[in-house]
Symmetry: C2
């Protein structure tokens, strides 16, 4: 493509409303333009990257036997009413009336449509398992769209759905999907982790989020420094073994800690490390009060509390509730003499001569020893993992990172098939509910992830798998006939060899052309300049800045190596 | 793809609500399913055809230098208000409010978005001409969606827009687009015509519709039996030369025609051919009464009347108006003694001893001769063309056909660029308004057109360019190990050779498999049956029904010929 015939409106200035690097660069390099809040046009370069990402996703989906189809954007309200999501999805579901006042959702996801389709068309176990996917524009009315393509209101997704007769069959497909996603994000050149995630209220079991490591990410990931273990910090299991000090047991003693309330304040006041303190927090668990203990340097993870107690709802008690139940302010709560159920993290078990609140204003205990001084109804892993903890898979230590979610795999189970009566006849002619999985990739979001992770201060840097063009050929001076002709010849020749070429044939200064080229970030640049009269062109690698001069007739034979 | 792992839900019965062949077959063969009125899912086979059509369109667009981008579905109302179409587009424009009560249209077309984009990004003549296109889902709230994909509410379109500094540049692009469209529809195997169409109220000049000839079409096309001339019948120029009889002129005579009012009745009553009659109709043209004359066997074309008189509005006068102005009922109106402006079709000029109304109840004139008996203010081509008329390009005679519109090219001129102030600076630094063209193809509609034109009574027949799979391999009996193994081997081998293969590996009766195969319409079928034990398979051409038996090892070398 000749640059004079396409639309690549680069900007010198950083757009005022773009907060993060990827958003700034995608705007400045002319890949996208905003049409409305959270709604973008993909200009020619952005569209090319999008289509290349789609092609990779398609290939890997096809490889695992998933079958592509295309469902509509307009989804009748009746389908969403069957699952109840018409009411529960909230303001993020874009809705509209047609001319006959029938209600529709603009699809943010397609569980309802695909379940209704498969329910109507599949009647026998013989036609299962089945995995279907589509690549399609989705809609979600984000309250605060931001970060460009990262949190938009109209975006491109690959969404896949699978249907099974058994949990084993679902497990098998889930593993295939995890592998396909791993292939996809590897081919995209991303540093990512498959992160164990919370299956939330949907009721499924296994779920992984594919997170690209990036400081702009909205989620924190706990990952191993040596293995591929990674989990959402809410989900990461703590397998730390705590050593119990063999110091002599002290006597249980009440002391006045005055106005010192927080863990930090009490530890400083008593000149001990926070590990000595027993953090005691009153929770309301399914309408029952439960005292939850963790070590002073740890944080309670309420999802783990919920799972340990097999509860539906876990909430911290209010200061008023705490005062009423424990007879003291929040800062003085402790397990000794408490009249409520007590659960404690494993870390508490090993505390020797610890400190805890005494359930009286301005009073703490010292010399506290679990079992001797109070009993615990149940020990468990109920704290957040921390950096430095051993990785749950036994390999290495945990580090934290922020992540951008680019993919999600989820064992739905029968959440949708039950609500929508998607059943089949088994080998014995008995009606059974289908078991489902769903699997998404944020196609347009990938552009942001790649731009965040691979760009430098001069501009974007595309991996060769999804670069808008393979090679950027720059004619330094279009008024110089020798340069112009050599550039046009090279363009034709490379196109014949099936390379995607962007030719800068504009009447612009060399400085503008080089700056634009750095901004756009095509991995290989060929500069046709003064030395073309001697038959020499310059090849530059965008990522490393490495430059070599080559006789023009060697370029074709060298190019495959350079691109690698 | 193995048929056991995909979703091809064929139907034996004709679905009750499908009126036309293509709709019935696309449903029965499992290519599409309706989700809501005019809203469809493309099942795996339908999606494959869609993607192949898209690829052909993309290739031909790229070949003429058009550049792909992707604009959003959600279009802010403000943009549509700039051109006034927010108000004029009517109920077909789907509209919605976001969570902040901002109004959006779901794009049925993208003139506003692209014009705003180009207006903001292109400032200089140096960046023009520019041709941009996208392939995207569009929305139009049809009052009565019908005929499956033909008149849907959500559909896939290719829409292109071009921007120019001169009419010549637009003309050049328009010609390129016409050529690209011709290539596209030829590659799709369609019998089509580029039809001269009415540019309507938009104010552009040239416009062609690409019509696939089909009896279910909603428009009538006048086309030449020898050349590629074709026009919407409203637009087709009449170049007939009329011979004037040299019979002796009769005297003008009043006769009582009683209750005989219509052309047919009067001609029969007087025992003459309709050619002898002068059909006289009173019109209201821009608030002035005009008497319009055509030969009795011709029909007035009001678009031609409008163009001849350079008028804004042309309407037939009501019977009351006619009675008031002419003093008689509609059936007795005539030019002799009329006090209004008279225009006549060229055909009237040659009438000798004709018959017309006498502007009195139950009275006609015979022996009427134009010029001698009445004068005409202006002669012109103001009738509809008829079958048998000479083609306006001088080649052959006109025939009529019905057509399905699959494409449209249109010289927009400055309709949008003026309304939205899309200007550039010319060589002299002066601000000029961009000149635009727009060019659409109904991608999903192509499926209907192909199905209508190429199917037979057994099912669909796909041209090799867009067939969902190249070859349908059918294992007659999956319980026969020899057949099963030979089928699976063949499947692998053909896939290695890069053929797209559908393998019928289902546990179904042979009859079901063959009927489904005919219905689906893959052009080449390879049947792995009993004779595979002797190394023989059967190859069948879907279109001709031609069958040959081949040694399995010859299949690979023969297949390219067979597919051709």
């Amino acid at each position: 493509m000749k640059q004079s015939s396409t639309l690549i409106p680069t900007l010198r200035e950083v757009p005022a409303d773009a907060e993060i690097k990827s958003h700034q660069l995608l705007l400045r390099a002319g890949f996208i333009r905003q049409i409305a809040s959270g709604v973008y046009s993909y200009l020619p370069l952005g569209n090319r990257v999008l289509k290349k990402v789609e092609a990779i996703v398609r290939e890997e989906m096809d490889n695992i036997g998933a079958v592509e189809l295309l469902m509509p954007t307009l989804q009748p309200a009746e389908l969403w009413q069957e699952t109840g999501r018409w009411y529960s999805y909230g303001a993020e579901l874009m809705r509209m009336n047609d001319r006959h006042e029938r209600r529709f959702a603009l699809g943010p996801t397609h569980e309802e449509v695909i379940t209704s389709l498969v329910r109507d068309e599949i009647k026998s176990y013989k036609r299962l398992p089945l995995a279907l996917y589509q690549i399609q524009t989705k809609f979600r009315d984000e309250k605060r769209p931001r970060f460009g393509l990262l949190r938009g209101r109209e975006f491109v997704m690959k969404d896949a759905y699978s249907f099974h007769t058994s949990q084993e069959s679902l497990d098998e497909m889930y593993q295939k999907m995890v592998q396909a996603y791993t292939n996809i994000f590897s081919r995209l050149g991303l540093n990512f982790r498959a992160v164990i995630a919370d299956s939330g209220a949907i009721g499924g079991k296994d779920t992984h989020e594919f997170m690209v490591l990036s400081e702009i990410g909205e989620d924190t990931i706990a990952y191993s420094d040596t293995s591929d273990y990674a989990a959402n910090i809410e989900m990461a299991e703590v397998v730390t073994t705590y050593e119990k000090s063999n110091e002599a047991l002290q006597e249980l003693t009440k002391i006045n800690t005055g106005n010192h309330k927080t863990i930090e304040e009490v530890a400083t006041f008593l000149q001990v490390t926070r590990e000595k303190l027993i953090k005691s927090l009153l929770f309301v668990v399914d309408e029952e009060y439960v005292l939850v203990l963790v070590r002073g340097d740890h944080e309670v993870n309420d999802i783990k509390v919920k799972n340990l107690l097999n509860a539906t709802s876990v909430e911290l008690a209010s200061p008023e509730q705490t005062n009423e139940v424990m007879g003291c302010p929040v800062g003085n709560v402790g397990p000794i003499g408490a009249k409520v159920k007590i659960i404690a993290d494993y870390g508490v078990q090993s505390i020797v001569n610890g400190i805890c609140g005494a359930n009286a204003l301005e009073i703490h205990y010292t010399g506290v020893n679990p079992t001797r001084d109070f009993s615990v109804d149940q020990y468990g892993d109920i704290r957040f993992i921390q950096e430095g903890d051993p990785s749950p898979d036994g390999k290495g230590r945990i580090l934290f990172a922020k992540g951008i979610e680019v993919g999600h795999v989820f064992k739905l189970g029968t959440r949708y098939s039950e609500a929508m009566n998607a059943v089949y006849l088994d080998e014995n002619g008995r009606s059974q509910t289908m078991i489902m999985g769903c699997y998404g990739i944020g196609i347009s979001r990938v552009l942001t992830a790649v731009a965040e992770q691979l760009a430098d201060d001069k501009g974007l840097i595309w991996p060769s798998s999804i670069t808008p063009y393979d090679v950027h050929v720059i004619v330094v001076n279009m008024k110089d006939e020798a340069q112009k002709n050599a550039g046009l010849n090279l363009y034709d020749k490379l196109k014949q060899e099936r390379y995607d070429i962007l030719l800068d044939d504009r009447q612009e200064r060399a400085g503008v052309k080089f700056a634009d080229s750095d901004l756009i970030g095509i991995p290989v640049r060929v500069v046709v300049g003064k030395r073309v009269s001697e038959g020499i062109v310059e090849v530059k690698i965008r990522k490393t800045g490495e430059t070599i001069e080559l006789p023009i007739e060697q370029l074709l034979s060298e190019l495959p190596n350079v691109i690698k």
